[in-house]
């Protein structure tokens, strides 16, 4: 008799569409965000093909504006922001803290439906005239002059914001009130800390973009004047309000990925993580300080010099907690017993690529340099290093790491390692040339460029095709493994968190008996239950608690 778990506990489409099980909701999100990844990826492909020649190969400049806009909107709002929180966070958070489900399971399901509703409006906008304002919706282009389908798009993003807010709310309340006995704050896995920090940003930032886009939409519909200079309004106000959310949004995208890395590294270095409390604290610090830096996107708008100085300084400050994390991860690797399984390859790739992306952010935060680099391909390369080289690699690495837990199956390891390497190489070939292009002055969002930039653009497109292969391969073999993969035990790696103490896949209530936590996180030396050779004599204090 096959064992009962969350996947086979109930059958039928209604049991999935009306589920309140956080694990099933996570899989529903997995399917939807992957769909939007394809949507955004299709536009990216068209952009890269178009840029093969200096005059542009594929489309008119007006259409090109639509391509990069729709690529940005789909990827940022409907893939990157939900990805790790709604897929991995939803699945793992309750299990990692020893709970049966999130605090508000029905609200969890509601947030998925809200996501779908928002996504539908945006898809409607894409298919009825598209969107050409840039994902940043700057006014008065978006609120007055654009002839594209701005209103449904703005409405869709507005609605989608509530999906994020509800997820964040659910996570914060869950971490506060649903932890198992013995699971104190400082025994929480770092992934949970990162989700908590991300949720703070969801709660405090998302409402601001909601009201801002609402106002821009109302302005468009009723010819109001908030952001229209002809009516006495101020486009810079829009930018302030927009970036108040959108800068912390980038931390929404990276903090969860950092949490994934903090889980993977100790497991595959077989060592406790170095500086646990610093990593936990730096997550909160990034979330908080990240709200103070938004106007570094506006250095060239004519904002006051004093404001520019303040925001520049604060932007340098926000790099510090990120650096703390990188130092701690690297220190964890030192004298660790490292194995190069696929998740570890993604984690190592993350560290390198995030480092480059983060450091180039400092270039941009420097006022003098930003004058030259603003709105060039340097910016594009910078944020893709972090969002793709960082966040997406964290997402894919996390999917691999927890795949055995989610599906009960192992993916094909050899093929997976090859795919990881292909992805890494393809990524660098795509985006490194863009740093050079930006430095040489190629502007972003332009449908054509001077002929001397062609070689680098062709390299970038070639890299993009390799990158695409690097994404396609996991999609194929992960799906394949669900049916044909080797059966995974409860703890294939082994990892030390609570999620590895339940069967793979877990039963619907996660734990047959509520666990009681008596051990510190990542404590490989003191976990005889993991069946590892311990380095020294086990400490007597643990196990007697």
């Amino acid at each position: 008799m096959p064992r009962e778990h969350y996947l086979n506990a109930t059958y039928g489409i209604r049991s999935w569409l009306l589920t309140t099980d956080h694990k099933r909701i996570a899989l529903l999100y997995l399917i939807s965000v992957t769909f939007f990844f394809f949507v955004g990826g299709t536009f990216a492909t068209m952009i890269r093909i178009h840029l093969l020649t200096p005059k542009g190969l594929l489309v008119t400049p007006e259409t090109y504006n639509k391509l990069f806009t729709m690529h940005g909107v789909a990827m940022i709002f409907f893939f990157l922001i939900p990805s790790i929180p709604a897929v991995l966070g939803n699945f793992l958070l309750p299990i990692m803290i020893g709970a049966k489900d999130l605090a508000f399971p029905k609200i969890n399901l509601l947030s998925w439906y809200i996501y779908l509703l928002g996504g539908s409006f945006v898809l409607y906008s894409f298919s009825t005239g598209g969107l050409d304002t840039g994902w940043t919706f700057y006014t008065p282009l978006s609120s007055v002059y654009s002839n594209s389908a701005v209103t449904p798009a703005v409405l869709g993003v507005f609605i989608n914001g509530f999906s994020s807010i509800l997820t964040g709310l659910n996570f914060i309340v869950t971490v506060h009130t649903m932890r198992a006995p013995g699971m104190t704050w400082f025994r929480l896995p770092l992934f949970v800390w990162s989700q908590y920090a991300t949720s703070i940003i969801f709660i405090l930032g998302t409402p601001v973009i909601a009201i801002t886009l609402l106002l821009a939409g109302l302005e468009r519909m009723f010819h109001l004047g908030f952001f229209n200079p002809q009516l006495g309004g101020d486009p810079i106000l829009f930018q302030h309000l927009f970036w108040f959310y959108s800068h912390p949004a980038v931390y929404i995208m990276i903090l969860p990925a950092m949490g994934v890395i903090s889980e993977i590294i100790p497991t595959f270095a077989r060592k406790p993580i170095f500086g646990y409390s610093f990593i936990a604290g730096s997550s909160i610090a990034i979330a908080v300080i990240g709200f103070f830096v938004w106007a570094h996107h506006m250095f060239l708008t004519g904002e006051s010099t004093y404001a520019a100085l303040t925001f520049s300084l604060l932007s340098y400050l926000v790099a510090i907690p990120s650096a703390v994390k990188v130092f701690n991860w690297t220190s964890t690797l030192y004298k660790g017993s490292i194995s190069y399984d696929t998740p570890m390859l993604y984690a190592l790739g993350f560290i390198g690529l995030f480092l480059i992306g983060g450091l180039t952010g400092l270039f941009l935060a420097c006022l003098g340099l930003d004058i030259h680099l603003h709105d060039t391909y340097f910016v594009i390369a910078h944020f893709h290093y972090i969002m793709v080289g960082g966040a997406v690699m964290g997402y894919v690495g996390g999917l691999h790491y927890w795949w055995p837990k989610i599906t009960g199956k192992l993916y094909p390891e050899f093929l997976a390692r090859i795919a990881a390497i292909i992805l890494f190489l393809g990524f660098n070939l795509t985006f490194f040339p863009q740093f050079i292009l930006g430095y040489l002055g190629m502007p972003r969002r332009y449908a054509s460029y001077p002929p001397e930039f062609q070689v680098l653009n062709v390299m970038s497109t070639a890299g993009a095709s390799i990158l695409a292969l690097g994404y396609l391969l996991p999609m194929i073999y992960l799906t394949w493994s669900m049916r044909y993969g080797e059966v995974a035990g409860p703890n294939p790696w082994p990892g030390t968190g609570l999620e590895w103490q339940t069967p793979s896949p877990p039963p619907t209530e996660n734990f047959d008996v509520t666990p009681e936590v008596t051990w510190e996180p990542y404590d490989y030396d003191n976990r005889p239950d993991l069946g590892l050779e311990t380095k020294g004599a086990p400490s007597l204090a643990h196990g007697d608690d």
């Binding site: 508000f104 009130t177 405090l204 409402p207 004047g225």
Partner: protein, 217 residues
């Protein structure tokens, strides 16, 4: 729908369930603070840019109606707080009375708002809809006063929308309290909807001076 006082699957105690619901509502309210906050930001900037225009435009909305509404809303917060008390003290007969009083006061508020909006319609002060403004003294152009009115309608409109939702929630509460559903052990919906209602009141407490009390002399 769960029955009175029943434990949901993932909770261990009623106390945990109650704490969770309360924390959830407070966090939701904090998102609302930031949501309205964007409007307050827009207001702040525009008022500091066009102080005279705002002053002129503000004179055309009736202070008396605004003041009455403020008293009405604070009174409704009082009756709401009393209903929470009633539910905690087990006063099952008194609870619907206070809830109905709150609802009535809320409807009075919305009614007065309706009167105000009608006034604005008659005077052609609705932006984007035959807007025309004759200032009482020599002030800036039509466009800038439109900004004030856009904010006026935007902020009070969003507030009114929240009140309508609150009224709907109150109707549900009244219905359930008449069925005797709330006891001292289980009055979480009363408390949490109360929190929401008080929040809506607080938004108005700030809207009133900002919109109605600009330099009247």
């Amino acid at each position: 729908m769960h029955r009175t006082g029943e434990l949901f699957g993932q909770y261990k105690t009623l106390e945990q369930q109650r704490e969770t619901a309360s924390l959830g509502m407070w966090i939701f309210l904090s998102t609302e603070v930031l949501f309205f906050g964007g409007l307050f930001m827009t207001y702040t900037l525009n008022r500091s840019t066009y102080p005279d225009v705002f002053s002129e435009a503000s004179k055309t909305i009736r202070l008396s109606l605004g003041a009455i509404n403020t008293v009405v809303l604070i009174a409704s917060s009082l009756t709401m707080a009393l209903s929470v008390w009633a539910s905690q003290a087990g006063k099952k007969k008194l609870l619907p009375v206070f809830l109905i009083a709150t609802l009535i006061l809320g409807c009075v508020f919305l009614g007065i708002k309706g009167v105000e909006y009608h006034d604005k319609y008659v005077e052609h002060h609705i932006p984007g809809w035959n807007f025309s403004f004759e200032p009482s003294s020599d002030v800036a152009t039509n466009a800038h006063t439109q900004l004030f009115f856009s904010l006026y309608f935007g902020m009070t409109g969003l507030h009114a929308l929240h009140m309508i939702v609150g009224a709907g929630l109150l109707i549900w509460l009244i219905k359930e309290s008449l069925r005797g559903r709330f006891t001292p052990e289980y009055n979480t919906p009363v408390e949490n909807i109360g929190l929401y209602w008080h929040f809506v009141d607080i938004v108005w407490i700030f809207l009133f001076p900002l919109l109605y009390l600009i330099d009247r002399h």
